[in-house]
Symmetry: C2
Subunit: 251 residues, 2 copies
């Protein structure tokens, strides 16, 4: 199969008849992708694409600003979906929310393994597509960072913390996604990304990863001081207590 299947969902757009236009947009994206695989991205012209799709040349540019956009036809919709999700969830743990938002991107890839894997191969070969992809990834990252910044409000270093955490979440997501793409779309994409998110969660929310037992006593509350105690599991309890007493006295 060389045709990308895509979710039957209207692309977001300013036009009132956007939904009606979806079939032509899909037809163009499918014709473009077939041709890129057959002839290569650089050697395929917009004229080739509209000829294959059986539409006029201007139709292409009505849907896609460039050839690159036709390779990633779902990112605009996905960005809009992510933004809508975050706009509607200004509650709960902020880190969990951005992980949930990132899963929207993952599901877009995982919904169509063959297309995603073929596109991954194409993107590796064409520098212009890699650059395009970097820009898209950056837009997701900015969306997540913007959300976190809003959630952190006036907290010290809100902006710094938002940007660093968004970058970590995106890097974790991409590590899991890339592993799945390299495996040819075999295996569990969601599991790989969850595993990667667990690492980010482990360090950023202070909760336990696979090698740590975490226990919380009392509630420090917003801005309260906390004591973090790290000990080998084999350490005798008396020694842990001794260290804790020293830490509390010195702190």
């Amino acid at each position: 199969m060389t045709q990308p299947r895509r979710a039957r969902k209207a692309a977001p757009g300013p036009s009132a008849d956007a939904a009606a236009r979806v079939p032509m947009r899909e037809a163009l994206a499918e014709a473009a992708f077939q041709l890129f695989l057959e002839r290569g991205f650089e050697r395929t012209t917009v004229d080739d694409i509209v000829a294959r799709a059986g539409v006029g040349r201007r139709s292409f540019f009505r849907y896609f600003p460039s050839k690159e956009d036709a390779v990633f036809p779902d990112h605009e919709r996905c960005l809009a979906e992510m933004t809508a999700f975050l706009d509607g969830h200004a509650d709960g743990d902020p880190l969990e929310r951005v992980c949930e938002a990132a899963r929207i991107v993952l599901r877009m890839y995982a919904a169509n393994p063959e297309f995603s894997v073929q596109r991954y191969g194409l993107t590796r070969e064409v520098p212009g597509l890699r650059t395009y992809e970097l820009s898209v990834v950056r837009r997701y990252e900015r969306t997540l960072a913007g959300y976190l910044r809003g959630r952190y409000g006036d907290a010290p270093d809100a902006s710094l913390r938002a940007e660093v955490i968004a970058a970590a979440v995106v890097a974790a997501h991409n590590n899991g996604l890339r592993g799945w793409l390299r495996s040819g779309g075999q295996g569990d994409a969601e599991g790989a990304v969850e595993h990667a998110f667990a690492l980010v969660r482990e360090v950023w929310s202070g909760r336990g990863g696979p090698r740590a037992v975490v226990s919380a006593a009392g509630d420090a509350g917003e801005g309260g001081e906390v004591v973090v105690m790290v000990a080998a599991r084999s350490t005798p309890l008396w020694r842990v207590v001794q260290r804790l007493e020293t830490a509390l006295a010195d702190g």
Copy 2:
């Protein structure tokens, strides 16, 4: 002052007479930058640049693959310097090493505040330059991640951990750098970036930040199990010990 000053250092390149060519390369970069500021990036042609620099058209492409490259004439040298630094420092704390490597980039910007600030303004206005900059940032990030991956060796999730930490370091660096650029190059660029690195260090190396007291009892060693205990500073010690006992029994 509208002319970029740059360190008197030979650009790395395959040519044996690279050092001798530096003056022409600098002259081209300076002419290009002046013109971009005067006329705008898009409206400046390579013919304009070579006319201003007083050299032939082919000279431009001998030094710069594209107009975009002439806006960022030092990144290749900086990437080479970062790679050389990391190649020579396969010791010490890996996170500290990548922070040191990222400081090489910062120093390149901070060495020439006026040029850096003007270029920042230009880059905000020209989408092609923003995309170019994203590609450069990605190369730095890959260099740092590659180093960390090598240092982590066969540890579980070495690749994931390397990519997430490299992304966090780059995001922290860019947050500090961007703040300094937005201030018009006033203030302490290195201080801003050190502050940002401190956040990454706080979570990734398990050392204490301003709000946490961290105490380590015993040595878990490579791959050993650890107990992490988080408690409000106001929690009574007996309650902390009770929770620790429960955690050790359940874990």
